[in-house]
């Protein structure tokens, strides 16, 4: 084992291996960090979540760092919640029984583009009579625009875009643009400055309280942007990491080790044992992997464990057997194997202690280079609709993006981010794998 | 003896390789000469640099060469001065050729053997295929392979046959000198004897000179006019064959001769203790000293080459007996 480790260390001579290793370590560290800070259950809940979790996220927003590269500063999401004290709340008695509650939201707007959506979330506590809210908008350049009126239920969501009367008043210009645009300029340009939203709520009962949350959904949100279900893509990108690595590693390990054992047994016993293994291999190599996986996924289960199992089972009797077999046949003829037979070693002992250690140096590069293959396979399966329905993986993100026509709509980040991660993993493992290959296969060393 | 040595003269030939573990001084100042129609046997054990010597003479250098210098006089001209193109056209396979170690395993498996033997003719002399094949035919006759074998592929021939084909390939351009690196090591005794017979015949018929590199001392006596003994990258003795086999001079030569088991004499062979030094990181001083029974204080310095009765020995023991040969031979301090 020591000599094996010494050999492995030799990849340090290759710069590409060092780069690859560094990247792998970073990715693994990222994966571990994710698993620790964002436990599995929580992640699944987040990923499955709807309004209640993602209500404050915009749909299909770009990542926040996009603003670093763009001339136009795109708006981030502005959330002002009266419960957090982010609105100036005042109360005046109104009439006999109710009050007039005024919530004033003030915020600065300095972006070069418009928010995506404007929504107010109301929460009202009352007994019988619904309070009545009326909204007023004030722009920095002194215009005042009446937004609309809403009758409040215990929870009420007022989406400005869905208000017909507002739409007519704004002459069909979408509110998120109309409320910010400079009327003087032809090309829609937002006015920069301090805006004010005043919500006046009239109550008809004593002891009524109303809270409201004003959300101006940005065009950029989060470190990785959001998807069509307002989910922060970071969740999927983060959790995709350990899932991809685990799948890749388990599949590569399971396949390679099993293939090696099968090849060893076949070569050592020869005869009909070898014959059967070869025939199974040949038939299996002809069988199409993807259609079979599709069938398994459709008729049985799409869980990632099932897929992993099916992939390993179908990959064992693949081309790897032929490669290992070729090497084992060579090793089998080695004098030391003959000597072992001469001093009475049993078949099992020879296979495990004499043949297999010889092949481990060859197995290692193949194992490392195999990891990205399975990582990509998992992503491809998801893209074909065979992904695990529950798990947030990189493949799932790409699949959602494709289904939502992301590339048509210019939402490149949605596809590029997971793709970049996939490529990173693939490249880094490949570089390390190539270097290991060069170390363990002396004939390639000159290259 | 020196006057006749007009075909090949090696002076201070050096070939060092760069490896991950350091510099390998494979050929470290080799010097000997060879005349027309003369056979020199270079005797040495594994690791002494003899295969590298063959490559050095023919300039078949690998990629990790660090030093390659010295003088190689072929018929009086220093071919080291020629550039690669000129060397390839004028010297390699034209004046000198090589039968490398395990040549019989290095035959091209997809060409018929007749074509392979013909190829050097077409490459170096620009002749048509017909003429080349005719010449190849003549070579097959010389080496004793039946002509109908020319149509066969390498794998159809036995080891002995393949070695003869390899020798034919080295002969086809009628070079003045052929270097053979362990030509019979992998062959059976009878086949070995047949091949040595063949080489003797070729030497008579075609008046070729040979450099035969081998570790097999008994076989070397079959062809040798002159013997050069190589140890740790240097030539430690050059002698006329008769004198060498009856009375070797250098202590290493003596021990080598004593270690050969003899069939016809009742002498128990002796062995040499220790091992030859690695060619990496050689220290100053006589390289055989650690194993030499006649080691003394002077051996801590590199011994020069002395000429004794027309023979050359690199050993301090002959300081009084002979005259010192050219000062540049004294190696690094």
């Amino acid at each position: 084992m020591r000599s094996l480790w010494n050999n492995v260390r030799q990849i340090g001579r290759y710069p590409s291996a060092i780069v690859g290793l560094t990247v792998i370590l970073l990715v693994v560290a990222f994966g571990i960090y994710t698993v620790v800070t964002l436990p599995y259950r929580e992640a699944i809940q987040l990923w499955r979540g709807g309004e209640e979790i993602w209500g404050e996220s915009p749909k299909m927003a770009r990542p926040v760092w996009y603003n670093l590269f763009s001339r136009d500063k795109l708006p981030t999401t502005i959330v002002l919640d009266s419960r957090e004290g982010e609105a100036i709340k005042s109360r005046e008695p109104f009439g006999d029984e109710g009050d007039d509650i005024t919530l004033v939201y003030t915020f600065d707007y300095a972006y070069d583009d418009f928010p995506e959506e404007l929504t107010v979330f109301f929460e009202a506590t009352y007994e019988e009579k619904s309070p009545y809210a009326s909204l007023m908008w004030r722009t920095p350049d002194g215009r005042e625009i009446r937004l609309g009126q809403v009758t409040l239920r215990p929870t009420e969501t007022y989406r400005l875009a869905l208000d017909d009367r507002l739409a007519r008043r704004l002459r069909d210009v979408p509110p998120q643009i109309a409320l910010f645009a400079d009327p003087e300029i032809e090309e829609p340009t937002p006015v920069k400055g301090t805006y004010e939203l005043e919500i006046r709520v009239t109550t008809f009962e004593p002891n009524v309280d109303v809270e409201a949350k004003w959300v101006a959904y940005g065009q950029v949100h989060g470190l990785a942007g959001t998807d069509h279900r307002r989910r922060d893509l970071m969740v999927a990108l983060q959790w995709g990491t350990p899932i991809a690595l685990a799948f890749g590693l388990l599949a590569a390990l399971g396949t390679t080790v099993t293939t090696m054992l099968v090849a060893a047994v076949g070569v050592w016993f020869g005869g009909w044992v070898d014959g059967i293994i070869q025939r199974i291999t040949e038939i299996n190599m002809v069988l199409p992997l993807l259609p079979i996986l599709i069938m398994v996924g459709t008729f049985y289960s799409r869980s990632i464990w099932t897929m992993l199992g099916a992939v390993i089972a179908l990959s064992i009797f693949g081309g790897g057997i032929k490669t290992f077999r070729a090497i084992f046949i060579q090793v089998r003829e080695a004098p030391y194997i003959e000597a072992a037979r001469a001093y009475g070693a049993s078949n099992g002992r020879i296979i495990v202690r004499y043949l297999i250690p010889r092949i481990i140096p060859v197995m290692i590069p193949s194992l490392v280079s195999g990891v990205p293959v399975y990582v990509f396979l998992e992503a491809s399966l998801t893209l074909l609709g065979l992904g695990d329905p529950v798990l947030p993986t990189w493949g799932k993100v790409i699949e959602d993006a494709r289904a939502q026509g992301a590339l048509h709509n210019g939402q490149y980040y949605w596809v590029l981010q997971p793709a970049a991660l996939l490529m990173l993993v693939g490249l880094s493992f490949a570089m390390v794998g190539f270097s290991l290959d060069r170390v363990f296969n002396p004939r390639l060393r000159g290259l | 003896m020196m006057a006749q040595d007009s075909l090949l003269r090696l002076r201070d030939l050096k070939l060092y390789f760069r490896t991950t573990k350091g510099t390998v001084q494979a050929v470290d100042g080799v010097r000997f000469s060879l005349g027309h129609n003369e056979a020199v046997v270079v005797i040495g054990e594994s690791g002494c640099g003899k295969s590298s010597l063959a490559k050095a003479v023919l300039r078949l250098l690998p990629r990790n060469v660090e030093t390659y210098e010295g003088e190689v006089f072929l018929n009086g001209t220093d071919v080291m001065q020629l550039d690669e193109e000129a060397f390839r056209k004028q010297v390699r396979w034209v004046k000198m050729s090589l039968v490398p170690q395990a040549a019989m395993n290095a035959l091209n498996p997809v060409l018929r053997v007749g074509d392979q033997v013909a190829e050097p003719m077409m490459v170096h002399y620009d002749v048509g295929k017909e003429e080349a094949l005719a010449q190849a035919q003549r070579m097959f006759e010389h080496v004793g392979v039946p002509l109908d074998f020319m149509q066969r592929y390498a794998f159809e021939l036995s080891g002995g046959m393949r070695q003869r084909v390899a020798i034919a390939m080295s002969l086809v351009t009628a070079p003045a000198l052929i270097i053979l690196d362990e030509p019979t090591s992998a062959l059976d005794v009878l086949t070995q004897a047949n091949i040595m017979n063949m080489l003797k015949r070729i030497k008579d018929e075609m008046e070729t000179s040979f450099i035969l590199i081998t570790h097999d001392i008994a076989t070397s006596s079959e062809l040798a006019d002159k013997v050069a003994v190589m140890y740790a990258g240097q030539i430690v003795e050059v002698s006329d064959a008769f004198q060498f086999f009856t009375e070797p001079l250098h202590p290493y030569s003596q021990k080598l001769m004593a270690s050969v088991p003899r069939l016809r004499a009742d002498v128990e062979p002796e062995f040499i203790t220790g091992q030859p030094p690695s060619l990496l990181g050689l220290k100053p001083g006589c390289r055989f000293a650690p194993r030499c029974p006649m080691r003394h204080d002077r051996c801590d310095q590199d011994p020069p080459v002395y000429e004794v009765d027309g023979r050359e020995v690199r050993c301090w023991l002959y300081e009084g007996a002979g005259t010192r040969v050219a000062a540049e031979e004294v190696a690094r301090a």
Partner: protein, 340 residues
């Protein structure tokens, strides 16, 4: 131990020793398969070999490649099953042993191979290499195993032992590797050692050292040794009897001195003529060796297998009938019609 009557073989073991191993009419044929099911003939690697070996006796089997000596040796080691004939070791026919008893037999025969580096597993340390045979053959006590390993290394003069225990084969020189192979062959305290060209891959100056070591071990432990080689010149120092093999059969058996004084079979004469001593006169003469190659073992020539290359062949006899062994002098036989 009974002395096995060896009436079928004219050359008994040396009269002063009891017979340990008796080979009778051994044939080892390998089938050539065609397309997995057909039968295209057999390679008759060993085709009728009989001899006896006494305890503590050293014999040499000499022949060129393809003569069957390796197959003969592997059959004695239990690695090939005989097609016909018997290998009787201490009264038991090896060919009939079950796998348990086979292991018992194998622990009594040590194997020294030709390629010292190839014979050692490159990924095992020396201590482990030597431990394997002990573990496999049931030596359970770790302390005892350690002791035996140290003893084995001392016997082959690899001292100080501690320097070698933790080394891997590639860290050792050819000579040292071969000593490990010998130590391994001896560690089970066998009665017989089979050595297949043990020094042909070593340097000239080391060969003698290893052969002398083996000779010393043989004498110290009263081991029987079968020494297989193609180099006649080493035989006289390291064995008492010599068998010359050609095309799967033994063509001459003799004590070494007798063979060198009075070589009889034409093939033996050819081998002797082909083996050189370092003698400058050699360059002046051509060797008297027969041309041609050893015959195919699938379709050997009719009658005496050497007849196509033999300059003394008697037409009508040598090409028709296989010669039996004729006694030339006590303990010296040759299978050649010339000695009828």
């Amino acid at each position: 131990m009974d002395v096995v009557a060896s009436s079928s073989s004219p050359v008994a073991a040396d009269a002063t020793r009891e017979t340990m191993l008796s080979i009778k009419g051994l044939r080892v044929w390998f089938e050539l398969r065609r397309w997995g099911f057909g039968h295209a003939g057999s390679v008759r690697a060993v085709d009728g070999v009989s001899f006896d070996l006494g305890y503590g006796e050293a014999i040499a089997v000499v022949g060129e490649s393809g003569c069957g000596k390796s197959t003969l040796m592997k059959s004695i080691l239990g690695l090939h099953l005989p097609t016909e004939g018997q290998i009787v070791f201490e009264g038991t026919n090896v060919a009939e042993l079950g796998s348990r008893q086979m292991q018992w037999y194998r622990s009594h025969v040590g194997y020294v191979q030709q390629d010292p580096f190839g014979a050692l597993p490159p990924f095992m340390m020396v201590s482990r290499i030597l431990e394997e045979p002990l573990v496999i053959n049931g030596v359970r006590d770790k302390v005892e195993r350690q002791e035996r390993i140290v003893q084995a290394l001392e016997e082959v003069k690899l001292t100080p032992v501690d320097d070698f225990l933790n080394k891997f084969p590639h860290m050792l020189s050819g000579g040292q590797q071969q000593r490990i192979v010998i130590a391994r062959a001896m560690i089970l305290q066998p009665r017989l050692i089979v050595a297949d060209e043990p020094v042909s891959m070593l340097d000239a100056s080391i060969r003698v050292e290893i052969l002398k070591l083996m000779r010393a071990l043989q004498e110290a432990h009263d081991l029987a040794v079968i020494y297989i080689t193609h180099d006649l010149s080493t035989v006289r120092y390291f064995s008492e009897r010599i068998f010359v093999m050609y095309a799967g059969q033994i063509v001459e058996k003799a004590r070494v001195d007798d063979l060198l004084a009075n070589p009889s079979h034409p093939y033996t004469l050819a081998l002797l003529a082909a083996t050189s001593d370092p003698d400058p006169e050699n360059a002046l003469t051509f060797k008297d060796v027969p041309p041609g190659e050893p015959p195919s073992l699938v379709h050997p020539p009719a009658g005496c297998r050497f007849h196509p290359r033999c300059s003394h062949a008697i037409a009508g006899l040598c090409d028709a009938e296989e010669p039996p062994e004729f006694e030339i002098s006590p303990h010296h036989t040759a299978a050649c019609w010339l000695f009828k």
